[in-house]
């Protein structure tokens, strides 16, 4: 390992610029002649546009252009699409409505963009946007997915009757019904997974530059996947052919999924740049972020779990209604289907599962992947119903789980996923011990003496990440493959550049990816640079989301390192007149094993590039690329335990302790993994206790600022007690499972299980705010 290799707690190389304010974000990009854009957005949740009058706006000071959807369409710019085809049970394809980047005849949610104004300054652009006169004919509004499905609800897209996008299912309905018929006990639970606003620290921004001399576009944008942006903008949105479109995602201040999708603003700024002849920069403000970033979650679920007389699970039935918002975002269809229902077996050996998911349009912001993307929803259903079942069956929640654990691998679940490896007893045992689960009842009694209610809750979660095997997801409807790419360039005097298709927007790749090369060749970390985020510099890659940069991104790097190592050894063997098989590379030296014949690493590199004495037939250079397509998802999992103390007078919940015992497979940098877990826990606890997204009946977003949307603060969170076990993943060279989303996946059920235990009322919605908890306490009296 050394101090800089795999497993080392190396401080992050990228932090210096971030902490000293020298990061280079999209808003820091300045080009000559650059102008500023503002969008006029719909104030109505649902309305026909009967007229757009831009004449007054065009005359305002500093205005260069005021452009509408009509002009956009006339120039052949395409509608936004969802890139993952899902079919309903009856075989019909999903009912995708049209999403024009700038609305032309109908607006469908508050925030829907209608007009772009380009002006000398941001203030002038905003002033002119306010002067655009749009006339609307308001239409009835529906914000609840459950209500939107009912007959008589307002129809949002002509393509989706009853606002139903698809009615999909997975698993074996007959086998599941048969299992239930034999059951000794059935637990039922209705669950809502609350809508979340992503709130990355940096709002979205785009700088679109059209170069008329070269007939070429450059797009600086806040993206988690610049190559995907280029692909989609070229192939589907007709912005430009790929070779005439360069997309650069520079430093990006967090994404959590919200910056995967290609948004209207990005397309429009590029097009507007050509139209107006000036570079066009748009920087969203926090209000726009709330209104128009893709939201997360928003499921309503009915679940039933059947047990035999021995408390072994016989079957699971799940019906979910998923709110998609006003338009289908790029990955939206995959989130409540193949990223959700395929995890419903959890850590348990469940013989029969059937899940039905209905996707529904409403007059709210579009919903798509957000940290965990489908897996938090699955864990919440399963871990809440397991805990509920334990209470009904009057058995220990830990032992009920243990009784049903999968112990033999590989394990084929009834919902497509084939778990390769795992040790669920290990993480449960570690968690129970760390939390002193056995001693809880005493602590509950002591708290009761002080007039406080203590509760403890478990969550034994599993998730599927490292997305994904391309053929597998292709067969399930994905429009892209989910491999990753890398190129390892050894320079002439031995320093190294690693070009990766992954993107780093907080994950620390500039450090952890370099650790791989340090481990392999002993080259110091400082001599290794990671290049990412620019489609001109880096070969095509699929970007960062779904906790894939370790399992997939690093695996591509490893494959490229393998090739570089092989060639370096061939060169060294030739120079040292030894057998290739006897060459070893260690601590920056290339030596013949068992002898003192060696060369420093840089000399092998130099030999490759001077090419004075290379093995016969060998090309000069020391640079190798690789594409890695995973053979399976990876399956991190673990046990989260939350202990709370509730003040019955006010409903305030204090988290006394939070234990996370996780298995992420091989860990490259424990410090960074801890950071990921902390962040995921903060977001999961945020969902459980604090973050609530509210639209009123007219479709106005009431929680559109931090005055009303409660973000987790340090004072809301305990010091986390986290630990890891390492069961290597058998399906990738490093044995990595991934860790970026697990915290947000495992924690919400642990928190809600704890509070419901404390207050003796299992009927509790997220976020469990003081008011919600207090009312539940009153209701249970």
């Amino acid at each position: 390992m050394g101090v800089e290799g795999i497993g080392a707690r190396v401080l992050r190389k990228e932090d210096k610029r971030f902490i000293t304010g020298k990061g280079r974000y999209t808003d820091d990009m300045v080009v000559p002649g650059m102008k500023h854009a503002a969008f006029l957005r719909s104030p109505h949740a649902h309305a026909k546009i009967t007229g757009i009058d831009v004449e007054a706006a065009k005359k305002m000071p500093g205005v260069i252009g005021v452009l509408t959807g009509k002009e956009l369409k006339a120039d052949g710019i395409g509608n936004l699409i969802c890139g993952w085809m899902i079919h309903s049970k009856d075989g019909s394809p999903m009912n995708m409505g049209a999403w024009s980047p700038l609305a032309t005849d109908t607006v469908r949610y508050v925030g829907d963009a209608i007009v772009i104004v380009v002006a000398d300054t941001k203030g002038q652009a905003r002033d002119a946007a306010e002067a655009v006169d749009v006339s609307y004919e308001e239409l009835p509004v529906v914000v609840s997915a459950v209500e939107a499905l009912k007959d008589g609800a307002p129809q949002i897209h002509p393509e989706a009757v009853n606002n139903l996008i698809f009615d999909w299912d997975i698993g074996d309905e007959k086998a599941t019904n048969d299992a239930f018929a034999k059951a000794a006990h059935v637990t039922k639970l209705d669950i809502v997974n609350n809508r979340l606003v992503p709130n990355a620290m940096e709002p979205r921004a785009t700088l679109g530059v059209y170069d008329a001399a070269e007939d070429h576009y450059t797009c600086w944008t806040t993206s988690q996947n610049p190559h995907v942006a280029r692909l989609v903008m070229s192939a589907f949105y007709n912005v430009a052919p790929e070779n005439k479109l360069r997309v650069i995602a520079p430093d990006v201040g967090g994404g959590f999924g919200s910056k995967i999708f290609i948004y209207p603003e990005e397309i429009i700024c590029l097009w507007a740049s050509k139209k107006t002849g000036v570079p066009v920069k748009w920087v969203g403000d926090r209000s726009e972020s709330f209104l128009a970033d893709a939201h997360g979650r928003d499921h309503a679920t009915h679940a039933e779990l059947a047990f035999d007389a021995d408390n072994r699970i016989l079957g699971l039935k799940v019906q979910t209604i998923a709110n998609f918002g006003a338009y289908m975002s790029l990955f939206s269809s995959s989130v409540p289907t193949y990223l959700y229902a395929t995890l419903l077996s959890g850590q348990y050996d469940i013989p029969a599962i059937h899940a039905n998911v209905k996707a529904v349009y409403t007059n709210t912001a579009p919903v798509d992947a957000y940290r965990g993307a489908g897996r938090p929803e699955a864990s919440f259903v399963l871990e809440r119903i397991m805990e509920t079942a334990a209470r009904e069956l009057k058995v220990s929640p830990a032992e009920l789980r243990r009784k049903n654990f999968i112990r033999s691998f590989p394990h084929q679940t009834p919902v497509i996923m084939n778990y390769d490896a795992g040790d669920f007893d290990a993480t449960l045992d570690a968690g129970l011990k760390a939390a002193d689960y056995a001693g809880f009842e005493k602590r509950r009694e002591e708290a009761a003496k002080r007039g406080k209610l203590r509760g403890i809750g478990l969550s034994c979660y599993i998730e599927a990440c490292g997305i994904a095997p391309s053929a597998a997801v292709g067969s399930l409807g994905a429009g892209v493959g989910l491999w990753e790419s890398a190129e390892v360039r050894v320079n002439a005097v031995g320093t190294i550049e690693i070009l990766t298709g992954s993107h780093s927007h907080g994950q620390g790749h500039e450090t952890t990816f370099a650790q791989l090369a340090t481990e392999r060749f002993g080259v110091p970390l400082d001599s290794i640079s990671i290049v990412h985020g620019d489609t001109d510099k880096v070969q095509m890659g699929m970007g960062t989301y779904g906790s894939r940069s370790g399992a997939v991104g690093m695996s591509a790097i490893v494959k490229a390192l393998d090739k570089v190592e092989a060639k370096a050894k061939k060169i060294a063997a030739h120079l040292l007149e030894a057998d290739e098989a006897d060459i070893e590379i260690k601590n920056g030296d290339v030596r013949v094993a068992g002898t003192d014949k060696s060369l420093p690493w840089f000399q092998v590199a130099l030999a490759a590039y001077t090419a004075h004495n290379l093995p016969s037939g060998m090309e000069p250079g020391l640079k190798e690329g690789a594409f890695y397509d995973p053979s399976n998802f990876t399956f991190p999992g673990g046990c989260h335990i939350c202990e709370v103390e509730v003040d019955p007078e006010t409903g305030v919940t204090e988290i006394i302790q939070f234990v996370a015992a996780d298995d992420f497979g091989k860990i490259i940098n424990p410090m960074i993994v801890e950071g990921q877990v902390h962040g995921g826990l903060a977001q999961g606890i945020g969902q459980a206790l604090l973050e609530g997204t509210h639209y009123d009946d007219t479709g106005q977003l009431l929680t559109a600022s931090y005055m009303d949307y409660t973000m987790p603060r340090a004072q809301d969170l305990p010091s986390f007690n986290i630990m890891t076990t390492e069961t290597p993943c058998p399906s990738n060279p490093l044995g990595i499972k991934g860790c970026g989303e697990a915290g947000a996946i495992g924690s919400p059920p642990a928190v809600i299980n704890a509070i419901t235990d404390a207050i003796h009322n299992n009927n509790l919605t997220m976020p469990a705010t003081p008011q919600t908890v207090w009312k539940a306490i009153q209701a249970a009296k």
Binding site: G123, R126, D127, S287, E649, T650, G651, L690, G692, H694, L702, T703, Y706, M707, D708, Y709, T710, M711, T769, P770, Q771, W774, K775
Partner: protein, 269 residues
């Protein structure tokens, strides 16, 4: 923010002149409410008249138990005033929990009460302390000053210059914060001087700060938290929003009142 004309007043008289000649002027002290409102384009004063350099409006003066706080005194300065903390720790504590450090460094008592946000902390203190609000024209008792939601007895271009009160024997303030904004959803200030007991509630009323007469009566008989066990706070007339329904808010008022009394009862002499 829309365009606005910024002026620095060097005296109250100059401030009045500037306001009178402005088309639609606003006085600016800490700006902790006004500036964010302007940034969201929800306010567009033609002129801003900045009072922060008028030294006569700043500072805490103590004469025996009589306290005078200049209108442009920051929350930070109130919260860290050692002399004031000795005779009325409830108000220094209240000031130390307004907003966050950045807000406390800028926000002022005059600005806060002139705005009369129903969730602001100072109105409950001033009503419970039976304070007098001194302006450039007159003196107004607190019970007359706070008229309604974002409404005070101030005439156009009347400027608050100071706040005056006599420190009570004992006082305490307990606030239950909105989880998002951390403003008071129920803030109760209890003040006791001899047999005179005043309980004022902020954050909860549909019409702004109010006195809780039933609590005052109960405490007059027995100054202890248990005296309030039977207190019924009427949800009718209380604010109701997604964070706290009127019912829940009524419960919070009662709980905060009890806790304020408990703090007084437990404090060493």
């Amino acid at each position: 923010m829309y365009e606005t004309q910024y002026h620095r007043a060097s005296s109250v008289e100059e401030a009045v002149k500037l306001m009178t000649s402005a088309e639609d002027g606003k006085l600016l002290a800490g700006g902790m409410t006004l500036l964010p409102t302007m940034k969201q384009r929800l306010a567009s004063p033609s002129d801003l008249v900045d009072l922060r350099r008028i030294e006569a409006l700043k500072g805490v003066k103590i004469d025996g138990r009589k306290v005078t706080i200049g209108a442009v005194t920051t929350h930070y300065d109130v919260s860290t005033n050692e002399e004031l903390a000795k005779i009325c720790p409830a108000i220094t504590s209240l000031a130390s929990h307004i907003g966050d450090p950045q807000v406390r460094n800028m926000g002022t008592i005059g600005g806060s009460i002139a705005n009369n946000d129903p969730a602001a902390d100072y109105p409950s203190a001033l009503l419970a302390l039976d304070a007098t609000i001194i302006t450039n024209q007159r003196s107004i008792p607190a019970s007359d000053f706070f008229v309604g939601l974002f409404e005070t007895a101030l005439e156009p271009n009347e400027i608050v210059t100071a706040v005056e009160f006599v420190a009570p024997d004992k006082a305490a303030y307990k606030k239950f914060p909105n989880p998002a904004s951390l403003y008071a959803m129920a803030g109760v200030f209890v003040a006791r001087s001899g047999t005179n007991i005043r309980v004022a509630v902020t954050g909860a009323g549909e019409n702004g700060v109010f006195r809780l007469a039933d609590a005052e009566t109960a405490l007059a008989g027995n100054f202890s938290p248990s005296a309030l066990d039977g207190l019924i706070v009427d949800p009718d007339g209380l604010l109701s929003d997604m964070h706290a329904s009127a019912d829940y808010r009524a419960n919070l008022v009662k709980v905060m009142a009890k806790r304020a009394v408990a703090e007084i009862a437990n404090r060493p002499m």
